[in-house]
Amino acid sequence: MEAFYDWFRVLYETTGINLPFLYDSYDRDRMFFGFFMTIKLSLVCLFFSIIIGIIGAWLQNSPFKWTRRFMNGYIQLFRNTPPLVQLYFFYFAISSLLPTVSNGYGGQQPILGGFAWAAISLSFFAGAFNVEIFRSGIEAVPESTIEAAEALGFSRLTIYTHITMPLAIRVALPALNNNLVNLVKTTTLAYAIAVPEMLYEANQIWSDNVNVTEMMFFLLLVYFGLVGVLVWGMNSWERKLKLPGFGA
C-alpha cells in the first residue's frame, strides 16, 4: 500500500500531476470523509424521498379536498423552484425561525446542522417528483385488477400493499431511476451550505494544493462511478421485477 501511495508522490515529482489525496494521509482522510458524506447524504435522501413519494401518492388520492390541494401545492412549489434556492430557504429562512439550543460552550447553535437541512431539503425536492412518479404508476394499475381483489374479499390496505404498490412500482421504476440519479447528482448542492461532502472536501484540497485541474478530473470520475453503480443497481432491480406481459 505504501508503495502504491509513494508511486503517486513520484508521479507528482516527475510530471507535476498532483493527486495529494492519494499520497498524503491528511488529504486522503479528507477525501474519504467527503466521499462517505456524499454516500450518506445520498442514501438518506433516497430513503426519505421514496417515503415522501409513497405517502404523498397515497395522500393525493385522499377523499379530503384540502389534503389533495396541499399535496398539489407542495409538488408545484418544489418542482418549480431551483433546488439551490430551496436549500438556502431551509438553511437560512426556516432554520432562523426555529429555536436554538446551547452548544455546550456557553453559546447558542441551531437545532439542525447543515447535513440535516441538506437531507430535508433534497428529500422534499426529489420527493415532489417521486409523488408524481408513484401516482402515475398507481394510475396505471387497472381498476379491474383491483376489483378482482375486492371480489376475493381483500381489504383496502391489503390491496394497496399487495396489489397496487407492487404493480405501480414496476410501472414507475424507469422514471424513478431517472429521478434518483438526479438526486444523487444534486447532493453536490450541499456544498453551498458547507456540508463536508465530496465536492466540498475536494475544494478544500484544491485550495491547499492548487491542483484544480486534477481534482476536477477526479470528481467527474468518482461521480460517474457512483451514479454508474446506482444505475446498475436500479436496472438490475428493474430486470428482476420485470413481468411477462405486464408493462412496457
Binding site: P142, E147, A148, A151, L152, S155, T158, L243, P244, G245
Partner: protein, 248 residues
C-alpha cells in the same frame, strides 16, 4: 328468520340500479336455489354485468333487495368480507394478479383474507390446479399463459375461497374459439359437483346444456325466463325471438 338451504341461495327482488340519470336495472327479480345453475342472456348493455356485480356488492343499488343466504346485501352495515367469502366471481378479462404465479394467484386470498396456514393453502391450491387441469403451470406467470389457461386459474383462484355461489360474467367472451371449450368444461365440472352458479353467457349451446333456468334481459328488465327446453324452443316474447334468431 334463519336461512336454511331450502330457501333460495340468492334472492333478488325488484332490483333498481342507476348510474347517475341512467337507469340500468328497472326492477329485476329472480331466485336461485342451492345447486342451481342459471344463465342470464341478453343484448350487450342490457345490464347483465351490473346485475351480477350487485350480488357481491361490487356495485351498489338504489332500491330493492338481494339476499345471499338470507343476508341483505343492501344493508349499510353489510360486512362485505363475509359476503365475498360466500360469493366468488370470475370476470371476462380474467383479471389475474400479473405479479404472481398461477399458484400464488390461487393462494393469495386464503392466505391474506382467511389467514389460513400456508401448508394447508398450498395443498388446497395444488388440488385446485389439478381440478382445472393446469398441472405443470403452477409457476407460470399470467403473462405466460393463454387466455383459456388464465381464465381457469381465475376460476381456481375464486374457488380457493370455498364460495357457496359463483358468478361468471361472460368468462369465455374474450377467448379464442379453440380455448372456449376448456373453460366451459371447467364450469361444467363445477356445475356437476353441485356448485350454485350464476352465469352471464353468449354460449347458447352451453346454456341449454348446463342451465336449470334461463333469464333473458333487455334494457334492464327480465323479458322472459324458463327452463332451457321451453325457453329455447317456445319463446313467446318477440324480443326474445329476435335475439335468439340473431345469435343462433
Amino acid at each position: 328468520m334463519v336461512w336454511t338451504d331450502t330457501d333460495p341461495m340468492v334472492s333478488i327482488k325488484d332490483l333498481h340500479k342507476s348510474f347517475g340519470a341512467l337507469e340500468v336495472l328497472k326492477g329485476v327479480s329472480m331466485d336461485i336455489m342451492k345447486g342451481e345453475v342459471i344463465c342470464i342472456i341478453g343484448p350487450s348493455g342490457s345490464g347483465k354485468s351490473t346485475l351480477i356485480r350487485c350480488v357481491n356488492a361490487l356495485n351498489n343499488f338504489q332500491s330493492g333487495s338481494i339476499l345471499v343466504e338470507g343476508q341483505e346485501v343492501n344493508d349499510p352495515d353489510l360486512d362485505k368480507l363475509e359476503l365475498r367469502k360466500k360469493v366468488g366471481m370470475v370476470f371476462q378479462q380474467y383479471n389475474l394478479f400479473p405479479h404472481k404465479t398461477a399458484i400464488e394467484n390461487i393462494m393469495m386470498a386464503p392466505l391474506l383474507v382467511l389467514k389460513d396456514k400456508k401448508e394447508d393453502v398450498e395443498k388446497l391450491a395444488r388440488g385446485l390446479i389439478k381440478k382445472v387441469r393446469l398441472e405443470g403451470k403452477e409457476d407460470s406467470y399470467p403473462g405466460e399463459l393463454s387466455g383459456g389457461q388464465q381464465q381457469r386459474v381465475a376460476i381456481a383462484r375464486s374457488l380457493a375461497m370455498n364460495p357457496d355461489v359463483m358468478l361468471f360474467d361472460e368468462v369465455t367472451a374474450a377467448l379464442d374459439p379453440e380455448t372456449v371449450n376448456e373453460v366451459l368444461q371447467t364450469i361444467r365440472d363445477l356445475a356437476e359437483d353441485g356448485m350454485t352458479c350464476i352465469l352471464v353467457t353468449h354460449e347458447m349451446g352451453f346454456a341449454r346444456e348446463v342451465a336449470d333456468h334461463i333469464y333473458f334481459t333487455d334494457r334492464g328488465v327480465i323479458v322472459e325466463h324458463g327452463p332451457p327446453a321451453t325457453f329455447f324452443d317456445a319463446a313467446k316474447d318477440p324480443r326474445t325471438i329476435e335475439f335468439l334468431g340473431q345469435i343462433l
